[in-house]
Every structure is written in structure tokens, then in C-alpha cells.
Amino acid sequence: MNRRTIGVLVGLAIADLLASLWIGQQAYTWMPPQASAESVLVDNLFSFMTTLGSFIFLGVMGTLLYAILFQRAAKYDASDGPNIEGNVKLEVVWTTIPILLVIWIATVSYQTYDRMSILGPMEPLPMGMATAEAAPTDRAASVTSPPIQVFARQWAWEFHYPEAGVRSTELHLPVNQRAQLVLSSEDVLHGFFVPAFRVKQDVVPGREINFEFTPIREGRYRLRDSEYSGTYFAANQTNVVVESSEDYQDWLAMAAARSPFPAENVAFEAFNQTDASAIGLGWKTVEPAPAPLVNFASSEEDTYE
């Protein structure tokens, strides 16, 4: 290779790198608002992987497009290309670099997951491998709010605050405190998913799963069922409200003072409507559980971010 070729290649690599860095920054804008400490970690990881991925994608596609545009056979040229069967040096390079890249990505991912600690500190690995030090330095909240019981069922979410004696279909959490949830399901698999928090956990019937994360931004966000749970799966959604500690305490006191009433429930209402109509165009379904009796209910009319 002469100097000019090397210069052009280096120039192209720099252009690829700059474009990839720019795309990596755009990655943040494709995500929902950052409402938890975990979302900051996940978005950084995603931006990092988008940068690397874009670099590879643009590099390979650029090479392919150049070949497609400029290396076509002339119409009546029936000759073969050069008889190149391989190049050991090149093959070693494109095996080694991906190995290093995936080790890099996996290490960053491991650190991210460890810092999120959504299932609590990771259990030690078998075979005597030590986990990274517990108690990550930047855990956003040292304060932990008391555990909230989360009940998933076909098709409603119900949140129980045992200390305050409150039942609600809207999840309220104090900002900047480590939220502790105990997830359980009464029938089938469900998935606890709040996109703005970037956290998700399947809810498994017959198990209680301790789940934790730290909301850092006040607002109302969407909570969705993420593990397919049957007929009204798509409607099994509710809202999460993150509010200041004072507002949270006020809300608990206000809700505790109310007497229980049946909450708004999309699945239950839709089922009763279909059942009442004479012509059913669907198939027989599992009957939804009745609307939960709660002190406070979320409304599908509420706006969220």
C-alpha cells in the first residue's frame, strides 16, 4: 500500500468514527425520559453500544457499497477475479478485534448490571468466582422506602402499602429513595415494566420476587405488563407517580382515609360489554378478575410522560 492509500483509509476511518460518535449521542433521544438512576446507567450503555455498532455497520456497508458501485464486471467480461483464497493476517485481525470488542462490551454491561442491582446485590457465582464489591459507590439513594407489595393478575395491577394500610391501582413512589417491591402473581406470568425506569421483571406465580430501583425524577409514567398474559394482556397497564417525600406521605394519608371502591379496569369492563352483545366475533376467553377494591385508583384519562 502506498502512502496515499493509507491516508485515504485513515481519513475514512476517522469519518466513520465521527459519524458513529454522533449517532451514539442521538441514541439518548430514542429513549423515554430518564426517571430512575438505572435509566441513566442503561442509556449510557446503549449509547456506547450504538457508537460501536454504528462504526462497524458504516464500515462494512461502506465497503460493500463501494464494491457494488465500482467493482462490477463489464458487460462482456467473462473473466474471473483474482484467485485470492484468504489472508491469514487479515483473518487473525478480524477474529481478535471482535473478541476484544465483545469482552469490552460484556465487561461494561457486567458493571452496569452490578450497579443497577435490581434484584439486590448479586449472589456469589458458583465455582468460587467473586462478585464485584457490593455497595456500589453511586447508588443514588441511601434511603430506602418500606417494601410495597405488587399483585399482578388477569388483568389488573394492585399495589399494597402494608404500613399505611393503602391499596391502590396507581403506584406511588417517593423520589430519590430506593423503591422496594415484592412482586407476586395470582394466576399466570406477568411482567413489571416501566419504560421510563428501564427496569423489567417477570412476575412468576408461586414466587415472591424482591425488586428494587431508584426513581430520580418526579412525574407520572406508564407501567405495562411485559410478559404475555392472555386475552386482555395489552390493556393491563397503569401509571406510576413519582413525587416528593412530603407529597408521598400526604398521598398515603389521603388514600388511607378513603374507603375502598372498585377501581376502573379496562379488561373487566370490556369483557362485560362483549359478553352482553349478542354476536361475539371472538373466541371464548378466560374471565377477567373483577375490578380490584382499592382506596385509590388510576385513571386511563390521566396523562403521563
Partner: protein
């Protein structure tokens, strides 16, 4: 190999029912691997259209946020049957068809090792296809638990009948497993025992390497799926409690059974398509496959790694942190042999003399969508990121880029490339290129918008969604309808070309390979004399001959003449 010569019954010249010009053989219990191959491909393609139709109804539902086109139970049945049909009725049979047609021709064998087993494996496909189709008409409708059939949802049986959509589904999947095992035994045996004289492992075409690697996965993985399906069927029908938590069962155990096979299954699907790419790029770039030996061996490495990555489907399930981390590392590792292949194809194309006809364009399209899917795949391997997008449209977009991007486009590439060999006719390039353009645009228009949707937090398998997702869903639906339209020029091209296309020469692409040394279509039992292979498979740009004899014609001094009956 040498024992194959012993059964070198000279292909007789008298007319026989399997003769290449007799269309009725496609509806018979033929034991000719070429007939069975085409039977598989055509049957599978009909189910592909059926599965695609279900998807278009789903895209019709999803063009608006509300559940308004079909009832929610119907939508759930649609996505369940779409996934099931596309995997068990389209992808697996289609790939078995390609392997059936090509492997004996490419390794220089007269047929498969067990021709009757081969025919029996094929004829099971329409049987379980009919069972799946009939399940639409039983009370309660077809299975509505998704193609994973996770309990306890799959154990809920609202009609209370013994014969219901779910039990028929399980029956069909179990039969599909039996058929696949029969096919795998046959193909693996054929490749091990029936290669032509002189065809050592590193003289075997890359497609056969990938088919071998894929079919070995079937032999290892399918028993786990079958065990899962049988125990689930027992839970559903006779009330055992392997997976039912109310009676002390563990639903997460089923997920391990299911993914222990169903993750490797994606490599059963993609590996032969890698093989197609490895066959097509050298022909239309006029260059040898770059790093052929490494590309060949990397298929086996993928096979090995594919068996130890299944928990990445369960990063958000009831799995402990250490398990998520362990399987994150193994999953990352599998991208290395896959990356080697991608780089090898790019190096094969680079500096060649490219001829961009339909097969090459489809292969290039498939390679580019696979590259994109590979990159989002590495992202999904990262557990903390996967926890955000797990069970969202990001995953749906990712795997459709593989399975509709790389696999379907790779299939089309293979069909256009080997169409002259299969039918003895040439196809129409213009229609082929139109088909390619519509397919490529359709795929990107439907599946690219699914990535932003998933990042925004839209779960998969929903019949209704929040209004902020509407914009990207409208685009995706338009892409879905375009994809449906894109099959029309293909069907027109295939039917009219097969009926009245130009006669194809033996080797229209000047390709190197044993299948191109015989007539188009190849005669019954393929080779007049078994080829004696003397070179590696991709000798473009070199003058070395591939074989030492002329397999299309009887030897002038036939030494085996005396032994044949």
C-alpha cells in the same frame, strides 16, 4: 465415499415414474431427493403466504391504537399461529427442501442415505400443517398462548374441551419434531457417508458444512423441546403439575426446556442461509470464498456455542443475577464466529468482478439486513440493556431482520440461483429485480420502525397500544402490506418461467460445483458416474479442474459395468 461406489447401479435409461419431465411425481410418495426437495419448498411457500396473510391482518389491527379490527382473542390467535406457521411450516420445511435438493448434488451422491425415511419425513409436513389449520375451527379457536406456549397461560383452557387449540398445537409441534429428527438423521448420515470419491471435508461446499452443523443441532436440541411439549400436554390434558404453580409445578422450568432447543433452532435456521451466501457470493463476484476453511469450521463453532446461550431469552424471567451474567458472556462469544463469516463474505466480494443479477442482489440485501440484526443482537446480549427492551418491539424488529431479512432474502437468492437447475428453465431478470426491490423496501419499512417502538417501551404481542406509538406503527403497517404485494412478481415469475421460460443450459452462471456438471434439471440419480473430486470447491480464477472425470456421461471404459446387475 468409497462405499457409495458399491451401490453404483447404473442409472437406467428406461422411462420411470420419477422421470424429470413428469409433473405427477410431485404429488406422489417419490423417494427422489430432488422431488422431495421441491415438494418441501413449494409446500412451505404456500404456508409462508398463509402466515404472511395472518401478519397482514395483524398489521391491519395495529395501524390504529385501539383494538378495533378483530377481537382481542382473535388477535392473540393470529400472532400465535403466525409465529408457529412461519417457523414450523415455512422456515424448517423450506430449509429441509433446500438441503434435500442440494446436498446430494453438491457432495456427488445419487440420493440421500435413506430415501424412504426422507419421503416419510416430508409427508408428515402436510399432516401437521392440516392439524394446525384445523385448529382455527375447533371451539375456542387456535392456540392463543404465543409460539412459546409459556404455562400457565397455555394451561388455561377456557372451553374445558380435551380437543382444543392448544392441544392440537402441541400435537402438531411434536409431529414437527419427529419429522425434523427423521430429516436430520438422514441428512447427517448422507453427508458423513456418501460424499463422492476424493471429497474430503475441506473439499466439501460451505453450504453442506452449514447444513451439517444445523442438522446436528436438531439431533441434540429437539429431545429437550419434545420433553417440554409432552410434559406440557400432560399438564393440559391429564392434570399433571410439571409446570402448574397452583399444584407445585415450576413455570420457569418449562422456559428452560423450551429455549434449550428453541434458541439453537435459530441457528438451525440461519446456518444454511449462511451457506447460501457462501455459495452465491463467489459465483457472482468471480472469486474464491475468502478463508473457506475458517468459514467452514466457524459453522461448527456456532453449533457448539448455540447450545450454551439459551438463558438470554430469560434475562427478565425468574432467573438469578449470576445466571444472567454467565449467559451474557456466552452469548457475546457467539458473535465472534458469526462476525468471521460476515467479514469473509465482504472480503470475497471485494475486488471481484460483480454481476448484480437477482440472486446476487437478494444475497447482498440479506447480508446487509443480517449485519444490522447482528449488531442489535449484540446489544440484546447485554443483559442490562435487554432488561429494558426484553419483550418489546425492539426484539420483534431484531429477529425479523434476521428471519425475514436474512433468511427469506437468502431463500429467494437460493431459489433464483438454483431455479435453472431445478426446473431446466431460466427466470425473468426484470421481474426478479422488481421482486428484490419491493422485498428490500418492504422489510426495512416494516421492521426498522419496530426498533424505536421497542426503545420507547411498546410491548410485543399487544392488540392495542398507547397513542404515542401510532406514528411508527402506521409506517410498519404500510411496509407489511408492501411486503405482501412483493410476493406477487415472484409467484408470477416462478409460474410463468417454469411453464414457458427459456431453456436453461447446464451451467448458466458459469458456477463451480458438482451440481453444475450435470444437465438442468439433473437426471434421476444425478450422476452417470460418481464424480472424482480433485479440488477445493471455489476455484474461481484458477485453471484447476474440480473433478477428474465427466460425471454427466457414462465412462467409455466402464470398469464397474461388470458388477452392476
Amino acid at each position: 465415499m468409497s462405499n457409495a461406489t458399491l451401490e453404483a447401479v447404473s442409472p437406467s435409461l428406461q422411462p420411470q415414474p420419477g422421470a424429470p419431465d413428469n409433473w405427477r411425481r410431485f404429488f406422489s410418495f417419490s423417494t427422489d431427493h430432488k422431488v422431495i426437495g421441491i415438494q418441501y419448498i413449494v409446500t412451505a411457500f404456500i404456508f409462508f403466504l398463509f402466515g404472511g396473510l395472518l401478519a397482514m391482518v395483524m398489521r391491519g389491527e395495529l395501524i390504529t391504537p385501539e383494538a378495533d379490527l378483530v377481537d382481542r382473542t382473535v388477535y392473540n390467535g393470529l400472532f400465535t399461529m403466525h409465529g408457529t406457521i412461519m417457523l414450523f411450516m415455512w422456515t424448517f420445511p423450506m430449509l429441509n427442501g433446500l438441503a434435500n435438493y442440494l446436498v446430494p448434488l453438491q457432495i456427488g451422491a445419487r440420493d440421500m442415505a435413506f430415501p424412504r425415511l426422507n419421503a416419510a419425513a416430508f409427508w408428515m409436513v402436510p399432516v401437521f400443517g392440516v392439524i394446525l389449520t384445523l385448529s382455527f375451527f375447533v371451539p375456542g379457536g387456535p392456540s392463543q398462548s404465543g409460539w412459546w406456549a409459556y404455562p400457565p397461560v397455555s394451561l388455561q383452557n377456557p372451553t374445558g374441551n380435551l380437543i382444543n387449540g392448544q392441544s392440537l398445537w402441541l400435537l402438531a409441534v411434536a409431529l414437527s419434531g419427529v419429522s425434523s429428527i427423521m430429516g436430520a438423521v438422514n441428512i447427517v448420515t448422507t453427508i458423513f457417508r456418501m460424499r463422492a470419491p476424493g471429497m474430503g471435508w475441506f473439499k466439501m461446499p460451505a453450504f453442506c458444512w452449514t447444513v451439517l452443523s444445523a442438522q446436528m443441532i436438531q439431533l441434540v436440541g429437539l429431545p429437550a423441546l419434545t420433553a417440554g411439549a409432552v410434559t406440557l400436554l400432560l399438564d393440559l390434558t391429564v392434570g399433571t403439575s410439571f409446570f402448574n404453580p397452583e399444584l407445585g409445578g415450576d413455570p420457569v422450568l418449562y422456559q428452560h426446556f423450551f429455549w434449550f432447543y428453541s434458541h439453537p433452532a435459530v441457528y438451525v435456521i440461519i446456518l444454511p442461509i449462511f451457506g447460501v451466501f457462501s455459495e452465491i457470493f463467489p459465483v457472482y463476484a468471480r472469486k474464491p470464498l475468502f478463508g473457506y476453511r475458517v468459514v467452514a469450521v466457524s459453522s461448527l463453532i456456532i453449533t457448539g456455542l448455540s447450545l450454551i446461550v439459551w438463558v438470554h431469552h430469560m434475562f427478565a424471567s425468574g432467573t438469578p443475577g449470576w445466571m444472567r451474567m454467565l449467559f451474557m458472556f456466552t452469548t457475546m462469544a457467539i458473535s465472534v464466529p458469526t462476525g468471521i463469516k460476515v467479514f469473509a463474505w465482504v472480503a470475497t466480494i471485494w475486488g471481484g468482478k460483480l454481476r448484480l443479477n437477482t440472486a446476487m442482489l437478494f444475497a447482498l440485501g440479506g447480508l446487509s439486513t443480517f449485519l444490522f440484526a447482528g449488531i442489535t443482537g449484540i446489544m440484546l446480549a447485554s443483559a442490562p440493556f435487554d432488561i429494558h427492551v426484553n419483550n418489546t418491539y425492539f426484539v420483534v424488529g431484531h429477529f425479523h431482520y434476521v428471519i425475514n431479512g436474512a433468511v427469506v432474502m437468502g431463500f429467494y437468492a437460493a431459489i433464483y440461483h438454483w431455479f435453472p437447475k431445478m426446473t431446466g428453465r431460466m427466470y425473468y431478470e426484470g421481474l426478479g429485480k422488481l421482486h428484490c426491490a419491493l422485498t428490500f423496501i418492504g422489510i426495512n419499512l416494516i421492521f426498522l420502525p419496530m426498533h424505536p417502538l421497542g426503545l420507547m417501551g411498546m410491548p410485543r404481542r399487544v392488540a392495542s397500544y398507547d397513542p404515542e406509538f401510532a406514528f411508527w406503527n402506521v409506517l410498519a403497517s404500510l411496509g407489511g402490506f408492501l411486503l405482501g404485494v412483493s410476493t406477487l412478481p415472484f409467484i408470477l415469475n416462478m409460474l410463468s418461467s417454469w411453464a414457458q421460460g427459456k431453456q436453461a443450459p447446464d451451467n448458466p452462471w458459469r458456477a463451480i460445483g458438482l451440481e453444475w456438471l450435470v444437465s438442468s434439471p439433473p437426471p434421476h440419480e444425478n450422476f452417470e458416474q460418481l464424480p472424482i473430486v480433485v479440488s477445493a470447491p471455489y476455484g474461481y480464477g484458477s485453471d484447476e479442474p474440480l473433478v477428474a472425470n465427466d460425471p454427466a456421461h457414462k465412462p467409455t471404459h466402464d470398469l464397474t459395468e461388470g458388477v452392476s446387475p
